[in-house]
C-alpha cells in the first residue's frame, strides 16, 4: 500500500528539514509563492506550462516531493483545475498557477468549485491580452477573476505587489479558502512573478495555517451531517472519512439532494454563496492606505502598479499636490463599504491600471458620491513609471 500524502503539520513545530528556515532570502516571486504554499500546508500541485507561469510550476515540481507532496503536470489547464477539486475533496490543499489563456480554460472548474464550496487556490500570473496577447505583464484579468466563471457566486481575489507578498498572500489565500470554503485567486502580474527581491521567512510558529472545519470537529456524526448546512460556512467532510459525501455542483438542498428542485431552492442555494462572501466582505478584505489625512486627490491602485504609484504619490505630496494613496490588497469581494468609510471627500480619484480601465468601475460605483471625478490611467505593455502617473495627475489638477 503506498503511503498517504503527508498532511499538514501544526504550525508551531518545524514543518520538516526541507523547509526554508526562518531568515532572509533572495527569491523570485514565483518561488516565493510556492514557498508560501508549502508553508501553508499545500501538498498538491497540478499544472500546465504557460508563459509566464512556468517558473512557478518548475519550482513546484522540485519542491513538492521534497516535503512529501505530489506534483503532476496535467494534460491541459482544465484538467489542472479539476485535479485541484479532486485533491481538495480528497483532503489535501491544492494549488496551480497559470496565465490569461489558461485562466479562461479554468472558469468552468472555478464555477463548480464556487457552487460546491471547494477550497483551492489558483494563481493567475497575468499577461497581456486579449487572445494570445503577449507575454509581458498586465492586469487585464481582474474583472474575469470576479465575473469569468459562469453564473452567480462571488469569489475571493488577492493582488500581491511584491515578492514578500507573493509569499504572504499565498499563505493568506489558503487561509481564506479554508476558512470560507471557496476557491481563492491570487491575481499577480508577470512583473511580480519574475522579479527577485529579498524575502523574509518568519519563524514557523508565527505563520497562521488554517484548516477547514470538519463535522468531526463539531461532533456531528455521519448520520446527521448536512454537507452544505449547519453554519454559514458548512463544515467539510472529506472523502475517505466515512461520511459518504456526495459532491454535487447542481442546485442542491443542504443535504445534497438534487431532485427536489424549486425556484425557492435555487434562490436559497445561490444566495447563500453570495451572502457567505459578499456579506463578510469587511472581514475578508484588506487595503493599505497612506497620506489620506486631508488629501485632496487620491490614487487607488493594486498589484505591481502600486509600487510606482506610491512613488508618484510621495513626489506629488512633495510638490504640494496633497495626493493620498490607497492600495487594494483584496480585489474581490470589492471592499465597497470599507472604501466609503475610509475615504473622505476628495476631488479626483486616479486609477492607474495595466489595462484599459477595469477596477475603475467598482471604484466609481463605490465612491461616486465622495468625489468629483474618477480618472483612469491605463498603460498597456509597460508598467507605469512614477513620472507618467504624476504627469497625468498634474494634467488633471492644474
Amino acid at each position: 500500500m503506498p503511503k498517504k500524502a503527508r498532511r499538514n503539520e501544526a504550525a508551531n513545530i518545524s514543518p520538516g528539514p526541507h523547509f526554508l528556515k526562518p531568515g532572509k532570502y533572495y527569491l523570485q516571486g514565483s518561488e516565493a509563492c510556492i514557498e508560501g504554499a508549502l508553508m501553508a500546508g499545500c501538498r498538491v500541485y497540478a499544472g500546465y506550462p504557460i508563459t509566464p507561469a512556468v517558473e512557478t510550476m518548475e519550482y513546484a515540481s522540485r519542491r513538492f516531493p521534497q516535503v512529501g507532496g505530489r506534483f503532476i503536470q496535467m494534460e491541459d489547464e482544465i484538467a489542472s483545475a479539476c485535479a485541484l477539486i479532486g485533491s481538495s475533496w480528497g483532503g489535501a490543499k491544492a494549488l496551480t498557477a497559470t496565465s490569461g489563456p489558461g485562466f479562461s480554460l479554468m472558469q468552468e472548474a472555478i464555477s463548480i468549485a464556487v457552487m460546491s464550496e471547494t477550497p483551492m487556490v489558483i494563481v493567475d500570473i497575468q499577461r497581456a491580452g486579449p487572445g494570445q496577447g503577449y507575454i509581458t505583464a498586465s492586469q487585464q484579468d481582474v474583472m474575469q477573476a470576479r465575473w469569468g466563471h459562469h453564473g452567480d457566486g462571488p469569489i475571493i481575489a488577492l493582488a500581491p505587489a511584491s515578492v514578500q507578498e507573493m509569499f504572504d498572500l499565498t499563505i493568506e489565500a489558503f487561509t481564506l479558502s479554508e476558512q470560507w470554503r471557496t476557491p481563492v485567486l491570487v491575481m499577480t502580474e508577470e512583473t511580480v512573478a519574475h522579479m527577485r527581491e529579498p524575502l523574509v521567512i518568519p519563524p514557523w510558529n508565527e505563520v497562521e495555517v488554517r484548516e477547514r472545519k470538519k463535522p468531526q470537529d463539531l461532533g456531528i456524526p455521519p448520520g446527521d451531517y448536512l454537507p452544505w448546512g449547519h453554519n454559514t460556512v458548512a463544515p467539510m467532510a472529506n472523502w475517505g472519512e466515512g461520511y459518504n459525501v456526495n459532491f454535487v455542483a447542481l442546485v442542491h438542498l443542504e443535504d445534497g439532494n438534487i431532485t427536489r428542485y424549486s425556484p425557492q431552492a435555487n434562490y436559497h442555494c445561490v444566495e447563500r454563496l453570495q451572502k457567505k462572501i459578499e456579506g463578510n466582505a469587511d472581514g475578508i478584505t484588506r487595503i493599505e492606505a497612506k497620506f489620506l489625512e486631508n488629501c485632496k486627490h487620491l490614487i487607488i491602485c493594486y498589484g505591481a502598479v502600486s509600487r510606482t504609484a506610491m512613488e508618484a504619490a510621495i513626489e506629488a505630496c512633495e510638490e504640494g499636490l496633497e495626493v493620498g494613496y490607497l492600495r487594494l490588497i483584496t480585489l474581490w469581494p470589492f471592499p465597497e463599504e470599507k472604501l466609503r468609510r475610509i475615504v473622505g471627500t476628495v476631488d479626483t480619484i486616479f486609477v492607474p491600471e495595466m489595462n484599459l480601465g477595469m477596477m475603475r468601475h467598482p471604484i466609481t460605483e463605490a465612491l461616486r458620491d465622495q468625489c468629483r471625478k474618477v480618472v483612469s490611467i491605463p498603460s498597456l505593455g509597460i508598467l507605469h513609471s512614477p513620472e507618467y502617473i504624476l504627469s497625468k495627475v498634474r494634467e488633471e489638477t492644474s
Binding site: W239, N244, N246, V248, D255
Partner: protein, 270 residues
Amino acid sequence: MLKYLKEEGPLGPRLPLIFCPGCGSGQVLNYTLYAVDRIIEEDNVRKENFLFISGIGCSGRITSHYMNFDSAWTIHGRALAIATGALLANPAFKIIVFTGDGDNASIGGNHFIHACRRNIDVTILCLNNGLYGMTGGQHAPTTPLGMITTTTPYENREAAFDLCKLAEIAGATYVARWTTAHPRQVIKSIMKGVRKRGTAFIEILSQCPVHEKASPVAILKRFKRDTIPIRRAEGPAEGKTLIGEFCDLDRKEWNESYQEIIDQFLAGSG
C-alpha cells in the same frame, strides 16, 4: 444491494432512480454494487476507501445523490481529471469512474487517454449507448456509420471509435468490453479492475430504450445476438462486436512510481 444506496436523505426521498424504464445505467449500478460488495468481503477493503466519480449524462446520474459511499457528480468529461486529483491527495482511494461514450471519448477524450497513459489507479466503466442520451439522442463518437440521430438526420457520415482499442493503445493495463446482458462477466471484470493497480477500462454496451426506440428486452437480446466473445471468434468477427478481455498487463501505477521520488527525500530526512 439497497444497503449501498441512500434511499432517503434528511430532506426527502432520493429514489426511485431517475433513469428511464429499462435503462442500462441502473443495471450497471447494480452490477457495480455486487462487485464492490464482494471486494469488501473477500479483500477486507473498507467501505470508506471507495470513491465513485461520474461526469455528465445519464451515466453521470448514477452518482448524483444515490450512493451511500463517498462520490462525486462532476463536470462533463472531467471525471478522470478529478479522480487524478483525488489520488494525489490520497493514493489509497479505490476509485470507480462512471462515464458515457460521449462524456469519455468526446469532451473527455484528452483526460481519457492521459489517464490511461499515466496508468492511474482507477476503474473506468464506460457505458456506451452510441449516442448522447441525456440531451436527446445526438450522435456521439461511437455512433455507427449510417445511423440516423437528432444531429445526423441525413445519416451519420463519421466513423466510430473503438474505445477498447483506444484505451489499450493509450496504455490502460486492463481492458474489457461487455454488455448489460452479460451481468456476471461485468461483475467479474469490475472486480478485476478494482483489484488491479492501474487503469482498468471496461466498456459496457448499455441500452437506451428511449432513443433507440426499442424495448429494453429487445435491445438486450440484440446485445447477446450481435456480440461474440474473443475466445470464440475465429477470423473476422462477421459484423459482430467483439466482447471479452482485451488485455491484462502489469505496469507500475502512477502514484506507486511517484512515491519512489518522495521516498528519496523522506529517507534523507532521517
